[in-house]
Symmetry: C2
Subunit: 333 residues, 2 copies
């Protein structure tokens, strides 16, 4: 082909420059491209613009949630792994296919993209969404696709401050992106991840500013979180980021903690009674978390397997999004 690109001599019969033209064109283009199978060139002619503009209109249509693409495995014959996980652990599994040859950070990225797209369709109006923070959630938040909703709220699940920073910029970035993608209010939780003294927590928990957040958490319709894991390979953010001192880490060990969800710790059997640190943690009580009707856990990387097992034993999740490698480890052992 000799690069007879774009439109040759159009743009002579100008369309009225109507208001809101941009997004109207995006909708038209999307309909013609995805519903009528026209090529971008054909669409460009009908829209009296250049093909490259159509390409951009379409990518805008995708980014703003105007176009939604779903991949649904006909549940009756879903991949074996997902079925096994559902049977063994009682959660709806979404296994992200990845070759085992790729790097951990790439796996995280791909799990995050797919998680973001899986969450999208579940997002609803009038929802109250609890969101944790951490490297997993951060990755997810970068790939959310827009979807307009009314009267929904994003609420932070646990404080993010530590001894060095208030953690606000990090956690709030995550929340902000969620809020923006879904057109939702954002409610931050401006407390440290852990109090130094359990008594301070008790006191703060009586404050009305805090109770407002706790109240929202109680009414959550959906919660989204990763897991932290102790004991195999790389420790998660919480265990190395200045949130806990040496003494804390020792008590975790004596309490036989294997992991955490939103800085609330649990043991391999799923129990969380009498784990000292939880009395100072600002995460949601795990019994309360279990009352939320949709609880989505995102996990990437096999180093999290111990924490994940604990979380599953505790029944913290209703939906589990994880990479294929971890899924395999989970069932084959």
């Amino acid at each position: 082909m000799t690069t007879t690109n774009d439109l040759p001599g159009a743009d002579l019969a100008g369309d009225a420059p109507l208001p809101g033209n941009r997004s109207r064109d995006a909708l038209r283009a999307a309909q013609m491209y995805y519903l009528q199978d026209l090529t971008m060139n054909a669409i460009a002619r009908e829209l009296r613009t250049s093909r490259s503009t159509v390409s951009r209109l379409l990518s805008m249509a995708r980014a703003t949630g105007l176009v939604q693409i779903q991949v649904n495995n006909p549940s009756d014959r879903a991949p074996a792994l997902e079925q096994q996980i559902r049977r063994r652990f009682g959660v709806e599994a979404h296994v992200v296919p990845v070759a085992d040859s790729i790097s951990d950070s790439e796996v995280l990225d791909r799990v995050a993209i797919q998680a973001a797209r899986t969450i999208g369709p579940l997002m609803d109006s009038n929802a109250i969404i609890g969101v944790a923070w951490g490297s997993t959630l951060s990755a997810v938040s970068h790939h959310l696709t827009r979807k307009q909703t009314h009267d929904s709220t994003i609420v932070q699940l646990n404080g993010a401050g530590n001894t060095q920073t208030t953690g606000i910029t990090y956690a709030s970035e995550i929340l902000r992106r969620f809020g923006q993608a879904y057109g939702a209010r954002v409610e931050q939780f401006p407390v440290p991840a852990f109090f130094d003294h359990a008594a301070t927590k008790t006191a703060m928990w009586e404050e009305r500013s805090v109770r407002r957040i706790l109240d929202l958490q109680q009414r959550m319709t959906m919660a989204i979180f990763g897991v932290g894991s102790i004991g195999s390979g790389i420790p998660s953010h919480v265990y190395s980021g200045g949130y806990l001192d040496r003494e804390d880490l020792e008590t975790l060990e004596t309490d036989e903690v294997v992991g955490d969800v939103a800085t609330m710790f649990f043991r391999a059997d799923g129990s969380h009674r009498d784990i000292l640190l939880n009395a100072r943690s600002t995460g949601p009580d795990l019994d309360q978390l279990r009352t939320v009707s949709r609880r989505i856990c995102v996990v990437s990387g096999e180093s999290k397997i111990n924490g994940l097992r604990g979380a599953l034993a505790a029944g913290l999740a209703t939906d589990l999004i994880l990479d294929e490698g971890s899924a395999r480890r989970l069932v084959h052992a």
Copy 2:
């Protein structure tokens, strides 16, 4: 580009040739392509196959309904035309964007594609779908995308025989395609479009074989039909295809008929009382049709505008899929 195509030296580490490999790969490919934004080349590497195979896997995934693409106009700021139609006529309108420069048959084709894709997501298990026949429905039936359902039934809305043929091959092809796309049973209605004598209809309507179909029609959860139109330009199939003789056409005129749905006629004001031909027609009683909870009317081409107005006045449709030109004519007059 120097055509550095497809994978250079793969296919040495063979994967196990598992059963059902094909559709599993299609699912994996679809997830990686649509959910993770990998290129087909990258997918080919992970799947240990060639890029072209991935391309084919993906088009298979789309064709079998594994991937579903939706374009949703955020109803609050839907295109003006759709809003006006909804207000004026009380139906949910889906306007198919087409430039006014293209030919009638092309318009029909594009309306049909978009109609097929619009119907797809509405299709459900345990549904009983009534389907009419005619050039519009025929076009739609060619573009249905597969979607597996359980225990659903496609039932023919009106007989298709005429004096020359039993009409079976034509109408049944349409039904067959619907049935195949949705994995549904197909129930044909083996009667002529019109009886010569109303008495024959009365008699036949008591036959158990016919009652079975009528019973299904009574329990329809969805109906899909076009409209026939008299009086402007090209007459529809029914008016020229050997179904009616001159005398019949004359009675239609004296009865002030403007169009039909599934060979049941109505006037411009939507009424259908005392239209003689209806007593001999095998289409569903219009009062009964109105009890179906979802009634989708597909219209392409401005020549149908008169019939369409009548059908809307009669309140026959809950959803209307039509081309932009007709939509404009509909509101601007």
